[in-house]
């Protein structure tokens, strides 16, 4: 089946980009879809801490590293590739992908391409949409409002929002619901995936000693996220392609 490339990016740091990448990888794991990930937060790579087995840290300004993403799309034999783009300069990253032919390949139908654009709690982040609109042909655009750490989000002005949104076809918007701080911290401290936290498994695979209450909250949060991701056409296509493939 056709591979899917998902870019997760934001123009601002601290809007929860890595959390969204984690939750996507987690979502696919719960749906039994194999994934791999690239973390462009070189050399730190906070995504790799949670997904050491499937994450490679790359430097997007390095040509050899750039090619790694594209060249292995067909051969990796993994249906989903998630790229966690370094904070800031989303348009730079898209420009790189345009230059090396990633966007072109997607337009030609070699794989499905989606951008999860994570916006923070300020209206200014809507300006980013204007800057990246020109790259979005052939790309499934998903505006991702991240409420995970926020009690109050920006005043979402429908008129302004529609104006920006109209620039991009095939656009979706999803909300990442709030998870209580204590649960979020404990998952982070444990350095495990949300799924393993719910299943009470420690990072080394041994039974975890996580709080039943916090596991319950994370599980509820995962269920809420599942509903959000299930609304995205790219994800629907991916999952239906899987079920159409008998007993794979």
């Amino acid at each position: 089946m056709k591979p899917t490339l998902i870019l997760v990016g934001a123009d601002k740091g601290g809007v929860g980009k890595t959390t969204i990448s984690r939750s996507l990888l987690d979502y696919f794991a719960r749906k039994n879809v194999l994934t791999r990930a690239f973390d462009t937060e070189n050399p730190r790579g906070s995504l790799r801490r949670f997904y050491p087995g499937i994450t490679e840290v790359i430097d997007l300004s390095n040509v050899a590293h750039q090619m790694k993403v594209l060249d292995t799309m067909e051969t990796a034999n993994v249906p989903v590739t998630v790229v966690d783009l370094k904070a800031g300069n989303l348009s730079y990253a898209l420009d790189v992908f345009e230059r090396i032919g990633v966007l072109e390949a997607a337009r030609n139908g070699q794989f499905n391409l989606g951008l999860f654009h994570v916006v923070g709690p300020s209206i200014a982040s809507l300006d980013e949409i204007g800057e990246i609109a020109r790259y979005m042909s052939g790309v499934q655009y998903v505006l991702t409002r991240n409420f995970i750490n926020e009690t109050n989000f920006f005043e979402w002005d429908e008129a302004t929002h529609k104006k920006y949104f109209a620039q991009i076809s095939k656009a979706h918007e999803i909300n990442i619901p709030k998870l209580n701080e204590m649960a979020y911290e404990q998952v982070d401290l444990a350095g495990v995936t949300f799924k393993d936290f719910v299943d009470n498994k420690a990072a080394d695979g041994t039974p975890g000693k996580f709080s039943f209450v916090l596991r319950g909250y994370v599980k509820k949060w995962c269920n809420e996220i599942d509903e959000e991701y299930a609304r995205v056409a790219l994800v629907q296509e991916l999952l239906s392609g899987r079920t159409a493939n008998p007993r794979s």
Partner: protein, 225 residues
């Protein structure tokens, strides 16, 4: 040996005998030779803790750490009984959180039965809420409780556990944190005068007789389903 239980004592109204029932239940379990642990969810007043120091945890259910203290404690030490005394204001929230976190499933998996005592106050809504409690999933038995002193809208709706009326002076006397109902039942005066002692003993034997019916009722219910 009887399966351990989590007993939840609650109501939609204040000041209608929840803590008195919790005390009586704890003393009943202790007299039965069991080792119950109490959870007092009223952090402001801590009404239950004074009566059972050393076997009561004070829990603020409004906070996540409070919820962890409650459920994680119970699930980490199964095999004994727990009595939860919930303030009226937290009853709704307690059951909402229990549903969100699938608490009753986890309690059943850990070998507990879940028994709810709902004190039916005078308002009609109270009786309706008590009936709704009986239809909730995850609860093995919901026992409506009628406190004779407060009055109740339960009327003739079926079985209810009764709390007999105590006269003012006796009620005030047993409110002293040093009075143990269990000790009175075993013959200690605990500072009460003769008529007060007799009244307490009559009260305890009536409530404990009803409490001892709870297990057979639950077995019958189990047979029906």
């Amino acid at each position: 040996m009887t399966q351990p239980a989590v007993y939840i004592i609650c109501s939609d109204q204040h000041r209608n005998g929840k803590t008195l029932l919790a005390r009586t239940l704890l003393d009943y379990l202790l007299l039965e030779g069991r080792d119950p642990f109490a959870i007092d969810a009223d952090v402001a007043k801590a009404p239950l803790r004074g009566f059972f120091p050393g076997r009561t945890a004070l829990v603020d259910f409004e906070t996540i750490p409070g919820q962890m203290k409650l459920f994680d404690t119970i699930l980490a030490s199964p095999g004994r009984d727990y009595v939860i005394d919930l303030p009226a204001l937290q009853t709704e929230r307690f059951f909402a959180v229990a549903d969100d976190l699938k608490v009753f499933d986890a309690l059943h998996e850990a070998g507990f039965r879940v028994v709810v005592f709902f004190i039916v106050d005078k308002r009609q809504t109270s009786a309706l809420l008590a009936e709704a409690m009986g239809r909730r999933s995850g609860i093995d038995l919901a026992v409506p409780v009628v406190n004779k002193y407060v009055g109740s809208s339960w009327a003739e709706r079926g079985y209810a556990l009764g709390l007999p009326e105590l006269n003012q002076s006796t009620f005030a006397a047993i409110g002293n944190k040093r009075v143990s109902l269990r000790a009175v039942a075993e013959g200690d005066a605990e500072g009460l005068n003769q008529p007060q002692q007799q009244e307490v003993i009559a009260f305890l034997s009536a409530v404990m007789r009803d409490l001892s019916d709870v297990d057979p009722i639950m077995s019958l219910k189990g047979l029906k389903t």
